[in-house]
Symmetry: C2
Subunit: 439 residues, 2 copies
Amino acid sequence: MARKRSFNSAQILVLIFISFIILGTVLLKCPFSTKVSISWLDALFTSTSAMTVTGLNVVDPIHTYTILGTTIIMLLIQFGGLGIMTFAVLIYLLMGKRISIKQRLIIQEELNQSTLGGLIKLVKRLFIFSIFFEGFLGLLLSIRFIPDLGLEKGLYYSLFHAVSAFNNAGFSLWTNNLTGYVGDPIVNVVISALFIIGGIGFTVMNDIWEHKRWRQFSLHTKLMLLGTLIINIIAFIIILSLEHDNPGTLGTLHGTDKYWAAYFQAAAPRTAGFNSVDIGALKPPTLFFIMILMFIGAGSISTGGGIKLTTFISLLVIMFGYIRRKNEAVIMERTIPDSAIFKGLTVALLSIAIIFVAIFSLLMSERTFSFIQIAFEVVSAFGTVGLSTGITPDLSSFGQCVIAFMMIIGKLGPLTLVLSLTDRDKQRVRYPKGEIFIS
Amino acid sequence: MARKRSFNSAQILVLIFISFIILGTVLLKCPFSTKVSISWLDALFTSTSAMTVTGLNVVDPIHTYTILGTTIIMLLIQFGGLGIMTFAVLIYLLMGKRISIKQRLIIQEELNQSTLGGLIKLVKRLFIFSIFFEGFLGLLLSIRFIPDLGLEKGLYYSLFHAVSAFNNAGFSLWTNNLTGYVGDPIVNVVISALFIIGGIGFTVMNDIWEHKRWRQFSLHTKLMLLGTLIINIIAFIIILSLEHDNPGTLGTLHGTDKYWAAYFQAAAPRTAGFNSVDIGALKPPTLFFIMILMFIGAGSISTGGGIKLTTFISLLVIMFGYIRRKNEAVIMERTIPDSAIFKGLTVALLSIAIIFVAIFSLLMSERTFSFIQIAFEVVSAFGTVGLSTGITPDLSSFGQCVIAFMMIIGKLGPLTLVLSLTDRDKQRVRYPKGEIFIS
Ligand SMILES: [K+]
Ligand SMILES: [K+]
């Protein structure tokens, strides 16, 4: 009567992911990785932050880790951002092996695809896109970094920041992140281009690559492109008007620097997590607004996190549809099916519930920090954003564990995690063609 | 080509409601109402707080208003709690006049009913229930208040607090609300019975009155009864464990007082808004938890506010249904129809959006209060709860106007307000029989 135990796709993904975090922790704890002694918790936090492409730090990377250490971090970011299974596929393909159905199912889960067809092609493209953007835009970065840091260090910094940006990790080798380049056009344009492209999602890149013309793009692609543009413009205006006179942030900047800083800080919260101004010095309404951006996040099947831009748009469409007395959620002449609505609603509610439990826990464990600091930290971890008011290193060990856990939940997605806890195999919701991706 | 302008039901409701607030403001500003001089804004705030049965105060009622003034407040609470149209119906019926279809449509809107049949019967019952509970339980209160305050004052206090409790207003004639009776069994039981019955909703009372047996109750009634019981038990346990050692609240209470205080503060946040402990002294996690309770609120078509308990339950049902891979939202062997899901989702999202805008506005206008104090105040106003950390009188005039506006939105419901802004007449979503009420 022994029941054969086998893991479902979601469970295998979670297990592999956790294994990589543990591997990263052990490697970062080794003497060759560090300049100063760090605790196991420090190593675990850094490894989790890198694998989940979050960028929150309990230690300052450049003063703590050796070049080998930061390179391990960079590799973890690359694994985490692109997905481990996609790497596994590449290795299999290079070895000339066939990808089994079981493996395809796991990749399907990881890439949030509804069919098994075209998966391998998608994975290959995904690599080509990554190498192209990280390489090409990394070279552009070196135009600025080589003169500033010398050839070798300049190239390394360019590669590290290109990888960190494209994978929306927000890790930086400067202690004050990118505040030193607040008004620099090259750094602003290249870094933001990298994280916006990385955050818009691989299916969107693929769609643009294949169809090239707006009319032929899928609904998902159109929504992502327009949505990203609109939300960035709104965020730019709000942040500029709130912070333009704040002496701690934009107030002391002159000329175009002010606009670059507002632009950068408007685009970065939806997962990238870089900062070119001091986040801890932002006004409370700005922090609150950035928390909303962090919750919304980037695109599905991208290097970004959050509940995802299309989920947010779908919820808005349902709301405005109901207010205008429609019984369907219609956008751009397409109906959003019930299954997608249920999924979006579930993702949003589950996310809010998890965030609330985490805030509640930290309010109990941390008595020296304010509510907004704690809420900001939790939402940042959940959205795998990595912006912080600066409290991360001073959190209690319990608090750091909660934040690390939130980063993992945020990266894997609350739904994947919940589904990985259920035993039976997934009855996949199959979307009709031309569908938008939720979460 | 002149277009005849006529108001839809939602617009008429909003206009009548606003008119009563203005009438109340003028009456409260008159010299016969006050012991000390108050500003127009003070009068407007008190009138709004009473009509919306919220209970937030910028002035201390007993030291500011005369007996006539507090009686005006009591009448506003009664109008606001039961609904103005229901009073109009009573007057019409007493005058022997017929209720027109147009009037019935407005009552239908006010009572959130899906059909016109049985409306007048429901309105009559509603009055009988109110008079019965306020009268009978008010008499029970006088057992405690007459010995404490003398016959005349004792009776007046009993009536005022019975009306305030049944209508979930939370207004009190004591400066420190009910903290003086923190351990008193009569006050705790009678006041909480009044606001729980008032908050559970008139259709539930009607259903219980008509069918008497559990099996014959509607889904809505069953959900409300079970939901109220479960959420109150959970809230009791959480508040007791968080606050039992807090010297500012439960820490200094002994014996049964501690349990009475925890019970009362667990039941009151879902709209009643009375307090028997100092809200400003609660720990941050407790404040956060109470904010969630305030957001959820009481029952549909009740004297309470919030997004409503059944809306909250529906959202949970959808979420758990999706996680368990069902494509329908099923509870107690009934399916929640799409229209109710869309409505619930719209109410929840609209509520969150409005709350966020208000918090954002107050973060800009009030620089001396913390994020949690501001968020608590906004959610309290939106849920027409009336609990406060004590900042209401010290808010800027702009801030007080925002809070007053939030009380109105919370009382009328964000959906009614939004629909009143649209021009065309409502295509009613008709629910199949045995449906639950959303919002
Ligand atoms: K990040
Ligand atoms: K109230």
